[in-house]
Symmetry: C2
Subunit: 410 residues, 2 copies
Amino acid sequence: MIRINEHYQKLTASYLFADIARRVAAYCQAHPQVRILRLGIGDVTRPLPPAVIQAFHEGVEEMARPETFRGYGPEQGYPFLREAIAREDFQARGAQVEADEIFVSDGAKCDVGNFQELFAQDIRVAVPDPVYPVYVDTNVMAGRTGAFAQGRYEGLVYLQGTKANGFIPDLPSQPVDLVYLCSPNNPTGATMTRQDLERWVAWAQEHKALLLFDAAYEAYVRDPALPRSIFEVPGARQVAVEFRSLSKTAGFTGTRLGYTVVPKACLAYSADGTPHALHALWNRRHTTKFNGVSYPVQKAAAAVFSPEGRAQCQALVDGYLANAARIRACFKELGYYCVGGDNSPYVWVECGMDSWEFFDLLLTRAGVVCTPGVGFGACGQGYARFSAFGSPETVEEAMERLRRILPSRP
Amino acid sequence: MIRINEHYQKLTASYLFADIARRVAAYCQAHPQVRILRLGIGDVTRPLPPAVIQAFHEGVEEMARPETFRGYGPEQGYPFLREAIAREDFQARGAQVEADEIFVSDGAKCDVGNFQELFAQDIRVAVPDPVYPVYVDTNVMAGRTGAFAQGRYEGLVYLQGTKANGFIPDLPSQPVDLVYLCSPNNPTGATMTRQDLERWVAWAQEHKALLLFDAAYEAYVRDPALPRSIFEVPGARQVAVEFRSLSKTAGFTGTRLGYTVVPKACLAYSADGTPHALHALWNRRHTTKFNGVSYPVQKAAAAVFSPEGRAQCQALVDGYLANAARIRACFKELGYYCVGGDNSPYVWVECGMDSWEFFDLLLTRAGVVCTPGVGFGACGQGYARFSAFGSPETVEEAMERLRRILPSRP
């Protein structure tokens, strides 16, 4: 009898975005005259930059002719792309990362989800709360947790984000082997400082732990004092892996390209303490279960790192950051506590009430859609996430409506 | 301490294609005047069909304008593609498959590799021998085998392909829960008849087992009596999942698109015997660890199913099949036993000697590269795989050279 992986039965169905859609649909049906302004979903809206489009077309055209056609490429990505990434994303910022330490994939979500396969089933895992759900669900599927009870999985360590710590989780007080970190954070928009990362790297070295650093939103960091890669911190190469994506950097949410940096110095251990290079393990996983990213997409991605591409992507990100600043300014002006929105496309706002109550208030009184913070974990209760990926007009009008309906807070 | 998944340590490094490359390089260096003819690798060489290129460009162009730009799409694929696949690949051949039973991905290798995640760790797994290595390695990584000893992993059931059964493995004689089948087969090119599949479906129903049917080469089936999908067999919807790919159908090895059919009727069980729909489990896995295929690639893929695209892809496949027929005819003429090559791009030839000895003979005497069969498993010893994906000129010249150096066999 073919038996299922029963760990899947522990997964709680995520009703967050389905719930949002249902409530919005019901409201729209009852009030067809209201124009709904959506600041809920973390998806980009602006087209791909011209340099990217041009390279994408060129890549397609190469596939049309026998002399330039490409079949299977290297699973890890073409050297032209890995070299551009190493140079522009890391070496140019003083981070020592070599091209052959970069594994190109079809998105950071896949890599973040798959990376835990490299580890023993009984390691102790810590995730932030609020949390990007993929960190949790993939470890549940792998059998690293107990049942879901009172909003949390037994056996997982939740690193609490609170007003007290500005939504930058503290080091764990209990033993942990694998830690997921995300900065700029999804959903809170909070950014870790160099000192924060130094503290984590020192902690990981002391405990022979590993940091999985999700930097999908690094392009939104504008404060030159803030690190954009964990590899800007000395010693990180031994204890950290970094996930990146062009989704929010260059508008690739529907084009699909991410990459993972696994330094050759990064180690994990057998039960007897023998060290193993994670680079070789991930390479084995990547080449066995993945067959490389579409060649025209890699060609398009390489254009992101050209001088024109960089300027165009910076303009794209600047546009979204201007939206974020508008959202942040509105809530600040009204006296709401918030984080994010300055070096991040997300603004995380304290509602002053239950997350869903706030959601309903904004929907029914202003026709504005946000994401209830409690959907990202227990620590999100009483908060809401606002996304800056809409058009400037949408964001401007949404904030005007909110100014009209929300009371000022002391 | 961060501990590794020690099952990875059981993996034997695959030296097959590295070994081939090394021997070819050494020979080339010693004999720079010889033009090497490569019939080893299973990668296509002809460009994408014009209809596909045009749709690919259109998809890229849509990403350039705000009004047609696409961000995150449905993880399972766009309806326009899933509907075209259901209609043309299945319903047109009398197989009952609905669009929402099709999960579009970036390749069959990924799906075939990932699908085993849905099952308990202690299920009993059977693979063909010779075998596409992904079936084996992904189960080793998941901890479903013991050590590698004498060419095989302990705990795996190997279904032997031999001259006696024409490289169509018999039903297992021991208890098995999950079976990998591949037809037209890689590496042997052998094709399963409707009766073969009916026997497997009946066996799976009787044992509540599951068949993972790899149909990546189905486009090469020309004999109308041969099934192209396992879902042409009544009852298969309860006990089978099918993997497909545009890699060999439409030249997508470097463009990347595959799909997996999980019928809603297909079941697996909890330890207590409760049935679960695999469709829901795979949907959970797919949406948690994958974010959909690049939109322009899906658009290009949909063109494969248009009338022009179908005609152009058929011509592409016909070209490779003509190569396969040339290879097969040559060996038949020389009196060699072989399978495949009529409804498959691979010809599997009995060498009359050790696989590597034959490889070296062909390389050093004729400058022709094949793949030693023993690289695909113990049952491949004494065989070699010839791939039909080269140009007609390459194949023609290679066969001429072989006719000159190979002795006729009785």
